[in-house]
Symmetry: C3
Subunit: 350 residues, 3 copies
């Protein structure tokens, strides 16, 4: 936090009610089970209530309906939603951090590029020919902005991001270190036992308010564009192949892989390590569990899991039986024997 606030100041910001000493000061955050003096923590999940009676934290945000069943040492601040209020405080602290500004040297900014106002360009960053960089963009050290790339205002490009020629990034995006935007799609035509490269002439188009995690790779289209919709959030180490389209406000956990030309709808949630086959369509509002494998179109609104994926409830039921398969196998063979015996007995009786 590196700042110090009194419980009273915090309660005012959050429109909360103080139970306890309003003058106590906090200068950092902590988890309730590891709370230290001088820190602020929160209690949202009733499962963790028991920690509040022992925590050393000085201030605890609690939901307005919370009433302690035992004495509490910390000063409580009652708010409508403790977790949302914590997020507000994190935002305040975050926005108080010093912001990078100006052009560090040496950096490489092509004379044909157009750069907006109030930008940051870190040392060893590279801005190619005819690139257009909007106002308030931050390009951290060692980032690469290829020729003809466009970056919308307010976007942050962290150290070492690579954006290939011609790609377009929207406004207020965040791209984390090691992400590669616009490398060639994986397109080859078999020819006499070898593979001939098919040029990848399209681009990657990233709309506004997208966040892209560390070391994620989004390939350029063979023609036209690979498109990442407005508000999409991609975690680390994700693979998005050429010509994929991701609908607005879809979120994906790390290590997801999406094959070429697949369309993912809006407001979907993909768990970690999910794999989607190529040329398929995933409907809006779908929920695909971690490690699932999908090879055909998926309707909107479903909740699936497994490889190949089936409805979540069915997956867990089938998995429970999977563990019993050896017993089932033995039982079936035993049943067969018993049945054969009965048939033999009945036959001999006749």
């Amino acid at each position: 936090m590196q700042l110090s606030f009194s419980a009273k100041q915090i309660a005012e910001v959050l429109h909360g009610e103080i139970i306890g000493d309003p003058t106590v000061q906090v200068s950092d955050f902590s988890k309730i089970e590891e709370g230290k003096l001088g820190t602020l923590t929160f209690l949202s999940n009733p499962k963790y209530e028991h920690f509040i009676y022992d925590t050393q934290a000085s201030v605890v945000l609690v939901n307005s309906d919370f009433t302690p069943s035992k004495p509490v040492n910390a000063t409580l601040i009652k708010v409508f939603n403790a977790y949302a209020s914590l997020a507000i405080l994190l935002d305040i602290v975050n926005s108080s951090k010093p912001q990078k500004q100006g052009i560090e040297e040496p950096s490489f900014i092509s004379t044909s590029s157009k750069t907006g106002k109030n930008i940051y360009v870190g040392a060893f960053a590279y801005i190619g020919e005819n690139a257009k960089i909007g106002d308030n963009v931050k390009i951290y050290p060692q980032a690469y902005i290829g020729d003809n790339v466009e970056i919308g205002e307010g976007t942050t490009i962290y150290p070492g991001v690579k954006i290939y020629e011609g790609c377009k990034i929207g406004k207020n995006c965040i791209i984390h270190s090691g992400a590669v935007i616009g490398a060639d799609g994986f397109g080859f035509a078999p020819e006499n036992g070898e593979f001939k490269k098919i040029p990848q002439l399209g681009i990657v188009l990233i709309e506004d308010n997208v966040e892209i995690g560390a070391n994620t790779a989004i390939d350029r289209a063979v023609m036209n564009e690979t498109r990442i919709g407005k508000g999409v959030k991609l975690d680390n180490l994700i693979q998005i192949a050429h010509n994929v389209q991701i609908g607005e406000n879809t979120v994906m956990a790390s290590q997801v892989g999406i094959s070429g030309s697949t369309k993912v709808g809006k407001n979907c949630m993909l768990g970690g390590q999910v794999g989607l086959g190529g040329h398929i369509t995933i409907g809006n509002n779908t929920n695909i569990g971690a490690q699932s494998g999908i090879i055909s179109n998926i309707d909107s609104g479903v909740n699936i899991l497994g490889s190949p994926a089936i409805p979540v409830k069915n997956f867990f039921r089938s998995s429970a039986v999977f563990a019993k398969l050896p017993d089932m196998y033995r039982q079936i063979n035993q049943l067969q024997k018993e049945l054969d015996q009965i048939k033999a007995n009945l036959a001999s009786e006749q």
Copy 2:
């Protein structure tokens, strides 16, 4: 495309037959379902035929055996293979793009390195001691070429690629941003509850015409070499462990992981997120489906899927039954009860 061609010019290049207006001009490519005026598209898969009657594209490449069943607005160009002809056009447009040349400053080129003719070295690129860079090599900004590395002629190293000391890259290879060639293999010996590092003194050897995707990692050998055969194509985010050998013209989709000392044959195809255990051998011409897990040797020519992998047909049949396991489980127990009842009845009759 940034160039403009008439249907007549294109037909001449492709030795195609024009149906419609030969003077119509195109300056970009489009997908048939999103075709715009002034663009060229293609129809290869009969499944998409209906789009051709509505497309706004000005020119459509079609297979020579295609006959429209309704009127078409676009100019058609009949060719032997529409997709292959498209690839030819993509190649032409691609080769017309301006090529990077010369040495951008600041860059770091060791005086003991040897660099060929007509190379490109981008700003902030690093070429270590005694490195040998062949003719017509392109080393984009922020790439790292370690000491004693050799790079064959015509190879392209995209921004931010890292090649550790002593590795050898063949001719006409393409290595995409974020790929790491020659980091230490994962070798540790347990010692008193801790793990002691085993030095990794080998190299990575990449033969000619190999393409390596963004953020793929290929580890150096403990001794001798990790070898990537001629013509191999690796997609993004792949892991190749130390001492692995990949045969010629094998292709792997993204996020595959191959454990140490495993040998993969020639002309194999590995789907996305496949995992291969260590010290195993995969025969030539094998096809391993996405997300498969392989822990033992695999014969040449097989087509397998699953974790552990089994023949593809069997996998899909077993998976279909997997979804029915809870029903099967109930049915078996019901059968058992019925059988016990019959046995009891028969026993009481005697």
Copy 3:
């Protein structure tokens, strides 16, 4: 190796016994099946014994209990443990390699940073404000050390590593190219159908003697820290989410993904492509097989596999039956029919 040693010199270092010519010289290592004149190899696994009778290698390290059953051309050196002795030789050769030293230009070292003695800073490396770099640290070209980062003595940061603001790295760590330490955790709060970013104000804390593979990503905590314990070894392309804690001397193979706030115990081994869900606890000394998926707490000392994971033996038994599921399905239905027939027959007899 680039050095030359006689069998006699090597035997002295290893306290081994020479069988054969002590004057033979070796200057490189080889695998026993590919041994060349002038190289040293080893025989540890009895499975490979047959290679020793044909190998062209000049010197072979063998275990002290090995007695050849046929004539051997190579000079043998008998040692207590051939593989451990090989590791000693690899160490000797490795430590004889020239070490990088000094500050290459251009590099960017903030005047407010503190740097120790005898460090290496490669060209295009960036060291941010108030960063603290210990003695004997090596920072290779194009690495990024953010503001307020601390790096303990003897640590090596390979080319292109990115360490975000405020993270702390212990002593004698090795971080390979492309690793990203301290990118934002994946934290978003749903708000009117969109996702609002929750600032990630914590850090990553890496203890001593940790090795981190190429392109691995370790996210900073939302508050407090993501912690990697002493002696942990992480392979390439691993994802460690925010607020995860990894216990001492745990090792993970490549492409593992660990979700937020999960705690992994000490001395665990995770196979490649394993996925752990969020907010769970994995006990000490657990062994989790490749591609497993874990969504609940795991006791110490277990050995599990599968997604969802079950004990290893059970997994293999169930997997064997999985391949037979179509047959089982048919058999059950056949049993049902036969049983129904018997019941019908018995009913008609009465």
